[in-house]
C-alpha cells in the first residue's frame, strides 16, 4: 500500500521535472518569437523543484539509495554490519525530526498568515512547504518501517541486504 503510494509520489516528481522543463522552454520560445513570457516563472519553477527533489525521497530510501561509505564497515563481521544498517536508519529518523517539526510549523504559519511571493500572480508560499513536509514525512515513515523490518530480519537470524541499488537496478525492481 505504502509502496504504491511511494510510486505515485515518484510519478508526481517526474511530472514536476517535466513541468518545469516545459515552463522554461515555453517562456524562452515565447520570448524569442512573440517577445512575451509566462508570469512568475522563477517562483513556479522553484516550487516544482521542491516536488522534484523531496517527493522521491521515500522511494529512494526504500531502494537504499542513500549514499554511504563502506570502506571500514565492509571488513566488520556480518552481524555488526546488520546492526550498523539499523543504526544508520535510526540516525535518519532522528535527523529528520527537526525538519518535520519545523516543516509543520512553517506550513501552518504560512497558511494561516497567507504569505505570498512577490510577483504578478502573488503565489502563496504554503504549497512548496507542504510538498516538502509530505516528501520528508513519507521518507520518515519509510525509514521507520525499514527499521522494524530490519530488526525482524536480524532477530530471525538472517542478514540484511543493504547494498545500495544503482538507479537502474532500482527501476528494474519497480517494473
Amino acid at each position: 500500500m505504502l509502496k504504491r503510494f511511494e510510486q505515485f509520489l515518484l510519478d508526481l516528481a517526474a511530472a514536476a521535472v517535466a513541468g518545469l522543463c516545459l515552463l522554461i522552454t515555453v517562456s524562452v520560445v515565447l520570448r524569442a518569437t512573440v517577445n512575451s513570457g509566462i508570469p512568475d516563472t522563477v517562483v513556479l519553477v522553484a516550487e516544482l523543484m521542491v516536488a522534484a527533489i523531496t517527493l522521491p525521497l521515500a522511494a529512494a530510501t526504500l531502494a537504499r539509495a542513500h549514499i554511504v561509505i563502506e570502506l571500514l564497515a565492509q571488513n566488520l563481521p556480518r552481524r555488526v554490519q546488520d546492526w550498523l544498517v539499523v543504526l544508520g536508519s535510526v540516525i535518519g529518523l532522528l535527523a529528520l525530526l527537526p525538519l518535520l517539526y519545523a516543516g509543520w510549523h512553517e506550513v501552518s504559519k504560512t497558511f494561516a498568515s497567507g504569505s505570498y511571493y512577490f510577483g504578478q500572480l502573488n503565489l502563496p508560499k504554503w504549497p512548496g512547504r507542504l510538498i516538502f513536509l509530505v516528501g520528508l514525512g513519507f521518507c520518515w515513515l519509510r525509514l521507520l518501517i525499514m527499521v522494524v523490518g530490519d530488526l525482524r530480519t536480524i532477530l530471525r537470524g538472517d542478514h540484511i541486504d543493504a547494498s545500495g541499488g544503482s538507479t537502474k537496478e532500482m527501476m528494474a525492481e519497480q517494473e
Binding site: D11, V17, I53, A60, I67, I69, A73, G88, I91, L99
Partner: protein, 445 residues
C-alpha cells in the same frame, strides 16, 4: 561553551559516523542539528534546552528548504534528465561508438574523450555538480560496458566534472566576485588557462595510467576503415546538434545558462521522438530515474548547507583565519597555510559554504599582503574544486557513485581519484607559483 570546541567535536563525529556506514545526508543533518542545539542552548551561559528548540529547527528548515527551492538549481535535475533521455534515445551510445572508432589506436581514448567532453560541457554550465551529473550519466556506464577499469571509468569523470567551475561560466567565480568586488568577467577570463591546464593534466593522468596498466582501457581491435569512421561521425549528429543549440543559444543571447538545460532536454526529446528511438514510456522512466538520482544528491547538498550554517555558528572559520592573521606569516607560507585550510574545509563542506564562511575574513588578509585578487580567486576556486573530489564528503564522487550504484563502491572511486588528485596538486602549485597563467588572458583584454 566554546564554539570552536563544538565545531571540532562535530568534525570528528562526522568522520566517526561516516566510517560506520551511516548515510552521508543523515550524518551531516544530525550532527549539524545537535551541534546547533548545543550552541543555542548554552548561549545565555547556563543550559536552557527549551530555548534552543525554535532557533535550531528554524535554522535547519530554512537552510535545507531554500537550497531546494531554487530556480537556478533547476538546471541540475534537467541536465541529469538530459543524460538519461539521451541514453534512452540512443544519442549517447552513438557518440561513444564514434569516439571508439575514431580513437581506436589511442589507449584510454574514450576516457580522454570523456574528460574533453567534461571540458566542453563546462563551457555551458556554471556548476561542477551539473557537469559531473550529466557527463557521469553519459560517459561512465559506456566506459564500464567497454571493460574499462572501474576506478578509471568513474574517477576520470568525477575529476573532469571539477572543470565546471574553472572554465567559464562559473557560479563560484560569480560568488567570489561579489565578495571581493572584482570584475566577474575578468575572473571568468582568468579561469580559462588554469582550466585548460587542469584538463591537460587529467589527460596526462589517463595516459600514464593506461601506459602502466594497458588492461585498464581495452583497445578496440577491430579493423576500422575511413568509411566506418565517417558513418559513425554522421550517426552522432543528434549530439552535435544539441551542442550547437546550447552553445549557440547561450552565446548568441537567446537564453541564459540556466534556461539552456531545459531547452536542451526539450530538444533531445524532440530528436528522440523524430528518430523513433524514444518512446513515451522510456521518457517517463528517464524522468523517474532522474528524480531518484537528484533527490539523493540534493538531500546531501541540503544537509551540507545545514552543516555550513552550523559551522558559521561555531566561529571555527574566524578562529582559523584569525590564527593565521596573527601568525604574520611570509607571503609564501601564508599561501601554503591558505591552501591547507581550504583543503581541510573542502573535505567536509561545499564550495559555496566555504566561500561564505571564509572570504569575509580571508580577503582583507590577503589584500594586506598585496595579493592580486583575480589570481587569488583562481587559486581559491581550484582549491574548492579539489574539495569536490576529496573524501569523506566529495559531492562529485557521490554524483558518480549514484549513477553506477553497487557496481562500483565509493571507496573504489576515491581510490581512482587519488591519481587525479596528484596532478591537481601539481597544477595548483603551478597556478600559485605563476600568477601570469591566470592573469595572461584578462590582462590582454
Amino acid at each position: 561553551m566554546d564554539g570552536t570546541v563544538v565545531g571540532l567535536v562535530a568534525f570528528a563525529s562526522v568522520i566517526g559516523l561516516l566510517a560506520i556506514r551511516v548515510p552521508i545526508a543523515f550524518t551531516l543533518a544530525l550532527v549539524a542539528a545537535l551541534g546547533s542545539f548545543v550552541i543555542y542552548a548554552f548561549r545565555t551561559g547556563d543550559f536552557t534546552p527549551w530555548r534552543a528548540l525554535r532557533p535550531t529547527s528554524s535554522m535547519v528548515f530554512s537552510n535545507s528548504f531554500d537550497l531546494i527551492h531554487s530556480y537556478d538549481l533547476s538546471m541540475i535535475p534537467l541536465f541529469v534528465a538530459l543524460g538519461h533521455i539521451a541514453y534512452r534515445a540512443d544519442i549517447t551510445t552513438r557518440i561513444y561508438h564514434a569516439a571508439r572508432v575514431w580513437l581506436t589506436h589511442v589507449p584510454g581514448g574514450v576516457a580522454m574523450a570523456s574528460v574533453v567532453g567534461c571540458g566542453g560541457f563546462s563551457a555551458i554550465t556554471g556548476s561542477s555538480i551539473a557537469c559531473a551529473s550529466t557527463m557521469g550519466r553519459i560517459c561512465t556506464p559506456e566506459m564500464l560496458r567497454m571493460g574499462y577499469d572501474k576506478r578509471l571509468a568513474t574517477a576520470s569523470v568525477a575529476a573532469g566534472g571539477t572543470l565546471g567551475s574553472l572554465i567559464p561560466p562559473s557560479v563560484l567565480f560569480i560568488i567570489y566576485g561579489i565578495f571581493t568586488e572584482t570584475s566577474i568577467s575578468a575572473l571568468f577570463l582568468a579561469g580559462i588557462l588554469p582550466g585548460l591546464i587542469s584538463l591537460l593534466g587529467f589527460l596526462l593522468v589517463i595516459w600514464i595510467w593506461v601506459w602502466r596498466d594497458p588492461d585498464a582501457a581495452p583497445v578496440y581491435d577491430q579493423k576500422v576503415t575511413m568509411g566506418d569512421r565517417m558513418r559513425a561521425a554522421l550517426d552522432a549528429w543528434p549530439a552535435i546538434a544539441l551542442f550547437v543549440i546550447i552553445v549557440g543559444g547561450i552565446y548568441g543571447g537567446i537564453f541564459t545558462a540556466t534556461e539552456a538545460a531545459a531547452i536542451c532536454v526539450s530538444a533531445a526529446v524532440l530528436i528522440g521522438f523524430a528518430q523513433r528511438t524514444l518512446t513515451l514510456r522510456a521518457l517517463w522512466e528517464s524522468l523517474r530515474e532522474t528524480c531518484i538520482q537528484t533527490a539523493s544528491i540534493f538531500f546531501i547538498a541540503a544537509a551540507a548547507k545545514i552543516f555550513v550554517a552550523f559551522i558559521a555558528l561555531t566561529g571555527v572559520a574566524p578562529a582559523i583565519v584569525g590564527a593565521v592573521t596573527e601568525a604574520q606569516l611570509s607571503p609564501a607560507v601564508l599561501l601554503l597555510a591558505i591552501a591547507v585550510i581550504y583543503l581541510l574545509l573542502g573535505m567536509f563542506l561545499d564550495p559555496i559554504g566555504i566561500m561564505v564562511l571564509t572570504l569575509p575574513l580571508m580577503i582583507p588578509l590577503v589584500e594586506g599582503y598585496g595579493f592580486d585578487l583575480i589570481w587569488f580567486g583562481v587559486v581559491v576556486i581550484k582549491l574548492l574544486e579539489i574539495g569536490l573530489i576529496t573524501p569523506p564528503v566529495g559531492l562529485n564522487v557521490f554524483v558518480i557513485a549514484n549513477v553506477v550504484g553497487r557496481e562500483v563502491p565509493i571507496d573504489r572511486i576515491f581510490a581512482g581519484i587519488l591519481r587525479f588528485l596528484t596532478i591537481d596538486v601539481l597544477v595548483l602549485i603551478l597556478i600559485m607559483s605563476f600568477p601570469i597563467i591566470s592573469l595572461l588572458i584578462p590582462g590582454s583584454m
